[in-house]
């Protein structure tokens, strides 16, 4: 049994190559940690120990047979992963955080699940989340809220709440999430880990419960920029099962880069420590020879309104398929937030209101995209806060949907524009809650964002951190 769990993929694979431990014994250690601490954090809805041991044995065998070559053949060999419960996992219960799918065992796996498995990753289980990915705090899960591992009176962010907590608590090395309006970047920020929202269309959504189809993007959490990149190498690209995915060439980092600071993201009400962290991070980049440029994204203030029309409209359509006939429970099993969004979406699409709300929102969406296109003429990426505040207290916004919706104010524009965003952890506030920032880039500029994050890590002497449980 191994007592200290590895923190990065590189560390894991070096130790495995040296034969320091077997993957079966590593799975023992992970499961012991999960079983000991998960009951108070509620990050997991299902633990897939049977699958995990099967995959661990297979991986141990590959290392024995192929030696170091095994890590070339299987780039994520031995990496412990967990999936947001929106990801279908063949034979392993997938609930989407909702009682509608309480007993649903999917007959097939999502593309991303399959690809991670084929790359040698080991599935430890399924993570709690806001039901149907509706939420910014994890409190909308039908299976109870997930707690922030840095302080259990605080929310971990949402909707990919359990996934972020899983990586921050070292229950897994990597976890997956979906980001429709900030659901990867914001919990990553609240939990002090890296979170990637890829370009819309870079990663297949096949086999993942759909929330808002023109916004959903499939991302992941890890503890270093390098690990985020290693997983993205595996998940991105065409699978022939999602017509929005097209294999394209990604832009490459330049020798001399420019980073934009959008004035509209430093809004009234922005927490002073959040602002200080983002401004401090900008200075780090400047010292590394990256030029800072003040930019303007004038339609930013309308992003939340566009989002809360387009997103519920698409939600109401996507959740129309849950009729309780072919799988799942009937529609009276939907929780309050899902019903609220179905109602809102049905209303804005209904006869007489379509032009005033949905069509208008789609037009303002174009304006928001034009803002980004203009900005990227003069900068390679943008640095901004992820959320107006660090993690807030459990229950603080739960009774007021509009206040909860406004928590997405700095992340939704990225989804409306379909651009990639990387949440980077950087320090903590006076209460010990994590702080950080997001890097946004033009479509298919993921590798530019990874490079910037790696420059930042080197400059700040970043070391992966795990919450003390």
């Amino acid at each position: 049994m191994k007592t200290t769990l590895p923190l990065t993929i590189t560390q894991l694979q070096e130790e495995l190559a040296k034969g320091q431990y077997s993957l079966v014994s590593l799975v023992d250690s992970y499961l012991e940690r999960i079983n000991k601490h998960n009951p108070k954090l509620n990050a997991f809805l299902t633990i897939s120990d049977e699958v995990a041991y099967k995959q661990a044995k297979k991986a141990d065998k590959s290392i024995k047979e192929l030696g170091k070559e095994a890590f070339e053949k299987y780039p994520l060999l031995g990496v412990a992963v967990s999936h947001k419960d929106l990801f279908l996992t063949k034979g392993v219960r997938s609930t989407a955080g909702s009682k509608v799918l309480e007993n649903y065992i999917p007959p097939y796996s999502a593309t991303v699940v399959e690809r991670l498995e084929n790359a040698g990753a080991i599935l430890l289980g399924k993570n709690n989340c806001d039901a149907w990915a509706h939420g910014a705090s994890g409190e909308n899960s039908d299976y109870g809220p997930t707690k922030n591992p840095w302080n259990m009176e605080y929310v971990p962010g949402g909707s990919s709440s359990g996934s972020a907590v899983s990586v921050a608590s070292n229950f897994t090395m990597v976890s997956t999430g979906t980001d429709t309006g900030g659901s990867v970047r914001q919990p990553a920020n609240f939990c002090g880990v890296y979170g990637l929202k890829p370009t819309y269309g870079a990663v297949s959504r096949y086999g993942i419960v759909a929330m808002a189809s023109s916004l959903d993007s499939v991302g992941h959490f890890a503890r270093s920029a390098e690990d985020i990149k290693k997983v993205f190498d595996v998940t991105q690209g065409e699978d022939g099962r999602d017509a929005t995915v097209k294999t394209t060439s990604f832009s490459k980092p330049k020798a001399k880069m420019r980073l934009g600071i959008p004035k509209e993201y430093f809004i009234e009400g922005l927490d002073s420590e959040v602002e200080k962290a983002v401004k401090g991070a900008s200075k780090v980049f400047e010292k590394e020879g990256i030029e800072l440029v003040d930019i303007s994204l004038p339609h930013t203030k309308y992003a939340i309104s566009v989002y809360y029309i387009v997103q519920p409209a698409e939600v109401s359509s996507n959740l129309g398929r849950y009729d309780g006939i072919r799988f799942g429970n009937p529609r009276n099993s939907f929780g309050a937030e899902a019903k609220r969004r179905i109602m809102l979406g049905t209303y804005v699409l209904s006869s007489g209101y379509y032009d005033a709300y949905y069509l208008k929102a789609m037009k303002v969406r174009t304006k928001i995209i034009e803002d980004f296109d203009n900005a990227y003429k003069s900068v390679d990426a943008i640095i901004a806060p992820v959320s107006p505040t660090p993690a807030f207290k459990l229950g603080e916004k739960a009774q007021d949907p509009l206040q909860m919706y406004l928590a997405d104010i700095l992340t939704v524009a990225g989804n409306l524009a379909g651009i990639p965003g990387l949440s980077v952890p950087y320090g903590s506030n006076i209460k010990g809650l994590p702080l950080g920032f997001q890097l946004l880039g033009p479509r298919f500029s993921e590798y530019v964002l990874f490079e910037l994050a790696e420059v930042f890590e080197k400059a700040t002497g970043y070391k992966p951190k795990v919450a003390k449980l």
């Binding site: 029309i309 037009k363 509009l402």
Partner: protein, 103 residues
């Protein structure tokens, strides 16, 4: 302030096939009115010359060959595995037609 009436809420619930309790209807009437009122700020944006965006990929008619592939096809048993309400390889559903009573 734009607000939803009780009959708006009932109408929308019917369209969405949701059965709401009286308490839920009242709560949603207030909460949805607040959100709708907030998002109405979009009317101040000038968009008369702006095309709507429905997707951001720039892809059009991304087609694949229409061929049957075994690895992407569920067997009947797999397709039915999510329901206990099956009969002879079919899903059972509630009747939607009734026998005429005036015959």
């Amino acid at each position: 302030m734009r607000s939803l009436t009780k009959s708006d809420v009932d109408h929308v619930a019917k369209l969405a096939n949701l059965a709401l309790s009286k308490e839920e209807s009242e709560k949603f009437q207030k909460q949805l009115s607040e959100v709708v009122n907030y998002v109405s700020e979009l009317s101040e944006v000038e968009t008369s010359d702006t095309e709507p965006t429905s997707q951001t990929t720039g892809l059009e008619n991304n087609l694949r060959a229409d061929e049957l592939k075994k690895e992407r096809t569920l067997s009947v048993d797999e397709a039915l595995s999510g329901s206990d309400n099956t009969h002879n390889g079919y899903f059972k559903v509630s009747a939607i037609l009734e026998e005429r009573s005036d015959k």
